[in-house]
């Protein structure tokens, strides 16, 4: 991790109100090249709202900087080239072919009337190779299993080759093996020089894979640091209302939730 380099994404005092009610309050955060950061918190804490604001999909007060420029000053296409966003649920409305779905990641780079350039095709190939989705190339995306669809959705987001990747619950409704596969892919994306922020509900997964964990509670970021600090049993009890223990796996401590308090 290059702590000296300026962050790829930096937010200061970001506040978002939805329908008059403040959902995210005074959030400060920075994402640096090479980092995989987990964003955790109970339902309704404001995680998705914060992520959508960081992606430029919601208007927020405060400052969000992308590579030294104010987010709101970027055109939608510039913003789309800088930040890839993977929403919840891996939605595909049309039974399109997998290769065409992944190629959608190149939308911010393509001009409206030409097809994919050589650069676009190479990026699509790299994203499909990284996610091992080449075998599905000609398949219709709606015929794939949940885990396969998650990999295709991730390939689509990776194909943009944006420096920042924001992933909202990328492991939701996946079996244990695919959860590990997806987390591993996110970590690889970060190691290649990107910054990845992932909303997770599985605290064990967050602690095992993330370089840093941010905890949100009722609109505020209440902790931001290594998993051992951010996900201490005391904080888990306070934020999630769950009794947890920290267990040494040999590769570090991970929290195990035991019962509701």
């Amino acid at each position: 991790m290059t702590m000296g380099a300026p962050p790829l994404l930096e937010a200061h005092a970001v506040t978002v109100a939805l329908g008059g009610a403040p959902v995210v309050q005074h959030a400060n955060l920075a994402l640096r090249a090479g980092e995989l950061v987990a964003l955790v918190g109970p339902n309704g804490a404001g995680k998705t709202t914060l992520m959508r604001a960081l992606a430029g999909l919601l208007t927020a007060t405060g400052d969000i900087d992308i590579g030294g420029r104010e987010l709101s000053e970027l055109t939608p296409r510039e913003r789309a080239r800088a930040i890839a966003y993977l929403p919840q649920g891996h939605v595909f409305h049309w039974p399109m072919e997998v290769a065409a779905v992944v190629a959608l990641g190149r939308h911010p780079h393509a001009d409206a009337f030409s097809g994919l350039s050589q650069v676009d095709r190479e990026a699509v190939s790299r994203a499909m190779a990284a996610t091992a989705t080449e075998e599905f190339t000609g398949r219709r995306v709606t015929t794939l299993s949940g885990g396969e669809r998650a990999r295709v959705a991730l390939a689509r987001a990776l194909a943009t080759e944006a420096r920042v990747l924001l992933a909202d619950e990328p492991t939701a409704s996946l079996d244990p093996r695919h959860q590990l596969v997806v987390m591993d892919l996110l970590r690889q994306a970060a190691r290649k020089g990107g910054a990845v922020l992932a909303i997770l509900h599985d605290l064990t997964l967050a602690a095992r894979f993330a370089d840093r964990v941010m905890v949100m509670d009722r609109g505020y970021i209440v902790a931001d640091g290594p998993a051992g600090d951010a996900l201490s049993p005391a904080r888990i009890a306070q934020v999630f209302g769950v009794d947890a223990v920290s267990i040494d796996t040999g590769e570090g401590f991970v929290p195990i939730a035991r019962h509701p308090l």
Partner: protein
């Protein structure tokens, strides 16, 4: 991967060329069909030199009708594909949202009260205004994350409202002959259409194609949902506005010259969707060509059926289109029951 993309491009070109050839063949056939028996050779000669009675029949009667059928059919095919792309739903169709009915109400108002002649620009403008109101209200009522049920119910209500408006106009029409004429025109027909009709419709149709076609990339991105599409740089609000205005221009102008014609926008994209990998962008051109072919074929059909009165084109498209719609509902039952169209 690269080969797959190139093969896709070649497949699309082949499909579009085949459909264009079909449209051209139907165009030639359409010029030869009519009460006056003219051989294909005589038709061709009349088309080129325009001499005598055959010249008038082919150039002034059959050619405008043929061109209008093709252009209007293409517009409906494209409008259907665009609405389906925006709403991410294969069952979206202008006629289900009251668009042609609203256009007819606008146009009928102008004609019934003698505000303007039937070949004045006021008629398509009134049609466009009616359609803008219908589609604009539909998207406003249904909102951004509306389920298919809400969208369809709102469309049903708007179609009924437009129908009531038409009934009121007929009811209050100052002249019973005008009322009868409007009632007949509402059934949808290309009989006795002239170059004047072409002139008032075509500028709006072309504007509609441009507005809808420019959003092909946005429709493709929308397959991932609105948030993901927006994150890819698509301006969702601008796309919605372009579809509302584009569909209004196309349907409004088409209905103003041809009366109420429905369901081409539902059938045409469906027929070609599988051939373009269900890609909402790639489906647009073949859907337009298929729409042109369908309406031209229907217009040839109504002229071939013997009888004292020509069957109206709008009647034929509804008679074919509605059972087709029912069949689509039947085959998509599981999707419709389980999955909101958010």
């Amino acid at each position: 991967m690269e080969e797959a993309v190139n093969a896709t491009g070649r497949k699309d070109i082949k499909l579009n060329m085949a459909l264009a050839a079909l449209v051209a063949a139907l165009g030639v056939l359409s010029l030869t069909v009519g009460p006056a028996a003219l051989s294909p050779r005589a038709v061709l000669a009349a088309l080129i030199d325009g001499d005598g009675i055959p010249g008038i029949i082919v150039r002034d009667i059959r050619l405008p009708r043929t061109l209008l059928a093709g252009l209007i059919g293409a517009t409906f095919g494209l409008a259907g594909a665009a609405l389906q792309g925006l709403l991410r739903n294969p069952l979206a169709e202008p006629a289900l949202f009251g668009a042609p009915q609203a256009a007819a109400a606008g146009a009928a108002l102008v004609i019934a009260f003698g505000l303007a002649g039937a070949t004045s620009f006021a008629v398509p403008l009134a049609g466009i205004a009616g359609t803008l109101l219908a589609i604009g209200s539909l998207l406003a009522i249904a909102g951004r994350r509306a389920s298919l049920t809400v969208t369809m119910l709102a469309g049903l209500a708007l179609a009924s409202l437009a129908g009531a408006a038409i009934a009121l106009i007929l009811n209050l029409a100052p002249n019973p002959h005008v009322a009868l004429e409007i009632a007949f025109w509402l059934l949808g027909s290309l009989q006795d259409r002239s170059y004047d009709h072409l002139v008032i419709a075509v500028p709006f149709l072309i504007a509609s194609w441009v507005m809808l076609g420019m959003n092909a990339g946005a429709f493709r991105a929308l397959t991932l949902g609105e948030d993901a599409a927006a994150s890819l740089g698509v301006d969702i609000e601008r796309t919605r506005r372009a579809v509302v205005v584009g569909v209004a221009f196309g349907v409004g102008a088409a209905v103003a010259v041809a009366g109420s014609i429905g369901f081409v926008g539902l059938v045409a994209p469906h027929l070609v969707r599988r051939m373009v990998g269900s890609d909402p962008a790639r489906v647009m051109l073949p859907a337009a060509l298929t729409g042109a072919a369908l309406l031209m074929a229907a217009d040839i059909g109504v002229r071939l059926v013997p009888g004292p009165v020509e069957i109206k084109l709008g009647v034929v498209t509804a008679l074919v289109g509605v059972p087709f719609f029912l069949a689509m509902i039947f085959s998509e039952r599981r999707m419709l029951e389980g999955n909101p169209a958010s």
